[in-house]
């Protein structure tokens, strides 16, 4: 059975909510005997749910290739991870406050002692909560936007808070009676630990495949297309998927040993793996100067942009912006190579004629694919993408399945215009370039 993105998300939320729902079975009338008792119950439940959501969010960070597909790609899986983490954070902030407010029904000193006592469980709880605040601060931009690598490093430490939180939970847990507490927390923690160790240990030694850089093309002044030859097993992937690339070139000025996500531009059947990279930051700028014959490491593939080849074919409308052409290029190259039928209309949005990437090759591919068309949209001439432009270029746009890839402002713009044309949200698939 194929899981849809919605049902996969529902399964994850259910897993996260299970410990708290189980706790509801063990409530007794004294939990509702007074406002103070109800606050105390809510305080305990927010603790259980916060901890469980945190464990499940940690579990989602494993990034096993293929695991992201039922969720509609890694970006969607990360968004789910963000939502779980944010809700967990809110619940965990409420947890000590509700318990203190509950004790305030006895007296103010009782409330303050609930928050600040020298019992080890309470101290562990504070250590975990403060650590969570520190490690999550860059994720929520508490003190401004964080730099990517620093954010990534600090965010990894959030795993530590999960362990601290578990110590606190196991010292105190009374809402899940008897063996239920240790069993439930043990299972959830084991799943999270497995996921974290996959990411930190296994993927580092076995998940990253070595490739050798054998050719460099320059489709524009600030774009390179790297051709990579596998030194071990070659990656199996679909058009539109992306990989994490880690360069090892000692000459690199920045980003050596750092992994960053890039979309594959080659067709899956090609012997060489091709990746087109635009200079968008320190690491991608340094990659423009990568030396031939050096080694890079590739982990993936991730993402699910295009429909699976088994799905019944439907006419497609593609909207690409700038370097966002890469997944479409991969698909066009693939269909031209294999002779697979493709009914797609590509609207390629760029600033002006000099910014068209792979222009010559795109024209050749269009000529080889009789049912597909390519229209260029120049911002300097047309202004922002309008629905009238889309309709003029592709008269049956509203009946097509839409795929958008490019910078966020263009995606937002195109999505709005397509919805104005009557394309339902469920028929618009997007691939954003965001922090991953």
């Amino acid at each position: 059975m194929r899981l849809t993105a919605k049902s996969s998300q529902a399964v994850v939320w259910l897993l996260a909510l299970t410990p708290g729902l189980l706790a509801l079975l063990f409530l007794n009338p004294s939990d509702f005997s007074s406002p103070g008792a109800v606050l105390n119950l809510l305080g305990r439940l927010t603790g259980i749910w916060g901890m469980a959501l945190l464990l499940v969010a940690a579990g989602l960070c494993c990034r096993v290739p293929g695991f992201d597909r039922p969720f509609g790609g890694l970006t969607k899986l990360w968004q789910l991870h963000h939502r779980l983490g944010a809700v967990a954070f809110l619940l965990l902030l409420l947890h000590p406050l509700l318990l203190a407010f509950s004790a305030a029904s006895i007296s103010l000193p009782a409330a303050v002692q609930t928050l600040f006592s020298d019992r080890s469980a309470v101290i562990w709880g504070w250590v975990a909560l403060l650590a969570l605040m520190i490690f999550m601060a860059p994720s929520f931009s508490f003190f401004g936007e964080a730099e990517y690598q620093r954010w990534k490093f600090v965010h990894r430490l959030a795993g530590v808070t999960v362990v601290l939180g578990l110590v606190h939970t196991l010292l105190l847990s009374r809402t899940l009676p008897g063996a239920w507490g240790p069993v439930i927390w043990g299972l959830w923690a084991a799943a999270a630990l497995f996921a974290i160790s996959y990411r930190w240990v296994f993927s580092r030694w076995r998940g990253r495949q070595p490739y050798r850089l054998v050719a460099i093309d320059r489709p524009a002044r600030n774009v390179v297309e790297l051709s990579l030859e596998p030194r071990a097993a070659a990656l199996r992937y679909d058009p539109g998927q992306f990989v994490y690339l880690t360069p090892t070139d000692p000459q690199l000025s920045a980003g050596r040993g750092e992994e960053h996500p890039y979309t594959l531009s080659s067709a899956p059947g090609e012997r060489l793996l091709r990746i087109a990279i635009k200079d968008l930051g320190d690491a991608s700028r340094a990659l423009q100067t990568l030396t031939l014959d050096t080694e890079v490491r590739i982990e993936g593939p991730y993402g699910r942009f295009f429909p699976s080849p088994e799905a019944p074919p439907e006419p497609e409308l593609w909207i690409a912006g700038g370097i966002g052409i890469t997944p479409f290029l991969s698909r066009l190259r693939h269909c031209a190579r294999t002779g697979e039928a493709l009914n797609a209309h590509l609207i390629y949005c760029v600033q002006d004629e000099t910014r068209v990437l792979f222009g010559e090759e795109l024209r050749q591919l269009e000529a080889q694919l009789p049912e597909s068309r390519i229209t260029l949209h120049y911002f300097y001439r047309e202004g922002p993408l309008e629905r009238e432009f889309i309709e003029r270029a592709c008269s049956d746009a509203a009946q097509r399945f839409a795929y958008l890839c490019g910078p966020l402002p263009l995606i937002d713009r195109a999505r709005g215009q397509l919805q104005g044309l009557g394309v339902p949200r469920a028929r618009i698939v997007t691939e954003e370039f965001v922090l991953l």
């Binding site: 007794n28 004294s30 939990d31 005997s33 007074s34 008792a37 105390n40 963000h82 939502r83 944010a86 954070f89 809110l90 902030l93 406050l97 318990l99 203190a100 509950s102 004790a103 305030a104 006895i106 007296s107 103010l108 000193p109 009782a110 409330a111 303050v112 002692q113 609930t114 928050l115 006592s117 019992r119 605040m133 929520f140 931009s141 508490f142 009374r174």
Partner: protein, 121 residues
Amino acid sequence: MKKTVFAAFVAFWSSVGTMLALFALAPAATLAEGETEYTLEEVAEHASLEDCWMAIKGKVYDFTDYVPQHPAPPPVLEPWCGCEATEGMTTKGYGRDHSPAAWESMEAYQVGVLSEAEGPE
């Protein structure tokens, strides 16, 4: 979402700060003078769930009205009625202390103190 979380973060520290400020500013509770003294024999006369007294850390409590509200069911409390129950309070029978809130909530049920000569402390 980021704004919501940041607002919650600020609200959290404001609430903790408010609670601490109120605690620091509120006048300390005065201790009652001339408390009634009881011996352990007198406490032992109230050894049923219908009339349940306990001596804990030198103080004497009448928990009769509290028994139905206790989170653990009444039979758990029954053996401690009429007894020196500090151990029950500090271990819950399985090595875990009651919460500070629980300790604090006992005050409402105090009826006196244990005679000087007796009691563990």
